[in-house]
Symmetry: C2
Subunit: 357 residues, 2 copies
């Protein structure tokens, strides 16, 4: 898949809807921060340094063994992409918002199925990211570790025996590892247990935030949980800790759904089917309302109601209806109202293939 | 059509959606109040008097010429019907709520297509009602007048040269005529002109009220306009006056729709199609919300948007989703919540035959 396909197709490997506990866990992500020895961190380095980093990483990523592992990787200089295209990479979670903002001496390397992305000259020289569907933190960690090792065959990382991997921001020093999961938690939101759970998780050194939306609002009931600490723990501890907490949340979410479904089945079914009715017929829809309906439809699949619909289709809808994707589709900038019309059109088109009744 | 068909089928002649100005006017109705000479008004009469009235009217209605005009009429003693069945006749506008309340010595005579109904021993000995689709007041008046004449061949009406037809309530003395139209006025409601128009109409001796809903609320944007005065005017004046006012309202409603459609087309289309989405997918729906959506769908037809849908289907939906019809369908009394589920089921079934996209 070329970068042009990547920015035109809403689908990615991590959206397949497969993997363990896929009724609650959408995706698992591992990110490693790495820097090259003897070169200043990106915010201090010269243009020549930046070019050297890009060159070195590009060569390292073309390692035969690495290509065998993840497929023929594609290198892209961010300056080759339009601002909308960079924003689409952000919406697909392939690069960070920070990376998309500044195009000077920045690049990204992508695996053909988009399960691996390496940002070059973001906050650190390298940010290696592996993204898999479902709760597959250990697998994903193994994959990231393997890629890290293969890159290290060629690259000389900045590493201190005492502190571990050195990074631009002190919060990443040590393992340089951030592990995260994206969860769909409508049961805990409807039963109003989410606040308490967020509080408890924060006590464990993990961060919870709504994936979309601002402040305490989590549009679409999508939450991301990630580790905060990278120093003083070994990688496997970080991964195991997040996995164990996630397993508990998965169980709590399932119990909540069971109780709600048992006690308010008709209300819940009504809510799920009304979401479909709105998505299939609305002529204008905001991104926030679309996410709310997508969440209700996903819950419908999770409860075994909507046979014709798949998690993959749901994930695709989430990405398809994001602003940059809509602008790309329209071929021009649009007012919010125009985006709402185009969003409704795209949703109707996608759902027209599906039999719901 | 037997009375059992009448209470099992939501359709009536007046719901056909045909007739003049059917984009605004649902139906036209003429009602004549008549009493028999020498017999006390119903609230004062003896059981023997009541039986005599029923007998006399029944014989009169079997007049060959009348049967030739309206078809083989069917006589029904209200005591033969269950309370739900009587309520259905009210919901279909074939008898008055007052008539359905008390079954002692009361009867109704119906034409096969339900365009004519004669209530016996309601407030007056006879209430002759003719109901036609669209704005057809003159035609409907001619029909009522003809039936009145044919009944008078046999019946001796209580009539004073000075005061006209004598009736139980002084407001009906004179012509005994009440003419009314049922209108769908979403344009005037959305553009907030309805309040002013209601005020102006009241000044003209006409009454306006929401067809469904309480107080100033008119659920489904359905309004009834009728004359208040029956004394001191001849029949044709009453009919002409209502017709002329209705024509003005029809034009105002059409202008409002045109302006709204021109200035807010996307918002309006969104509203109309969302109504369809909700009606096609909801699993529970209140009578009030159903009427709101039915009104939006009707507006969709009026604006030329919904090709597969007809006024007849819309009118049928209004009647089908009324409480007594639902109870009849369920075969038992139901809680409001159960009615909402059954209502949603019936709506989905009705709309499943239609292609909207």
């Amino acid at each position: 898949m070329s970068i042009k396909d990547t920015v035109n197709d809403a689908r990615s490997k991590w959206m397949e809807g497969t993997g363990a506990d896929n009724d609650v866990v959408i995706s698992s992500r591992i990110r490693l921060a790495r820097n090259l020895k003897g070169i200043p961190f990106p915010h201090f380095m010269s243009d020549a340094d930046a070019a050297n980093v890009i060159h070195a990483v590009r060569i390292a990523a073309e390692n035969t063994e690495l290509v065998k592992q993840v497929g023929a990787v594609e290198f892209t200089d961010l300056a080759e992409l339009s601002s909308t295209e960079r924003q689409i990479l952000v919406e697909k979670h392939l690069i960070s918002p920070h990376h998309a903002e500044n195009i000077k001496s920045r690049a990204v390397i992508l695996a053909p199925d988009e399960s691996v992305s390496i940002m070059i000259n973001e906050e650190d020289h390298l940010r290696i990211q592996c993204l898999q569907p479902g709760l597959e933190l250990e697998e994903t960690w193994k994959q990231a570790d393997k890629i890290d090792d293969l890159l290290e065959l060629t690259l000389d990382y900045s590493f201190s025996e005492k502190r571990g991997y050195l990074t631009a921001c002190p919060t990443n020093v040590g393992t340089g590892l951030r592990a995260s999961v994206m969860l769909h938690l409508p049961g805990l939101v409807v039963s109003k247990q989410i606040g308490q759970i967020v509080g408890a998780i924060s006590q464990l050194g993990l961060a919870v935030r709504g994936y979309y939306g601002e402040g305490t609002e989590a549009y679409g009931n999508l939450f991301q949980i990630s580790n905060q600490v990278t120093l003083g723990q070994i990688e496997s501890e970080i991964v195991e800790n997040l996995l164990s907490v996630t397993n508990q949340i998965v169980n709590q979410e399932r119990s909540s759904r069971e109780i709600i479904f048992r006690d308010n089945r008709q209300l819940l079914e009504d809510r799920i089917y009304r979401a479909i009715g709105t998505m299939r017929y609305a002529r204008m829809i905001t991104s926030q309302e679309a996410l709310k309906n997508i969440s209700d439809m996903r819950l419908g699949i999770e409860l075994g109601l909507l046979k014709g619909l798949t998690f993959e289709k749901i994930n695709e809808l989430i990405i398809l209806t994001r602003p940059a994707f809509l602008i790309k589709k329209a071929g021009q900038e649009m007012e919010a109202g125009e985006r709402d019309v185009l969003r409704a059109n795209i949703i109707r088109e996608k759902l027209s293939e599906i039999k719901f009744d």
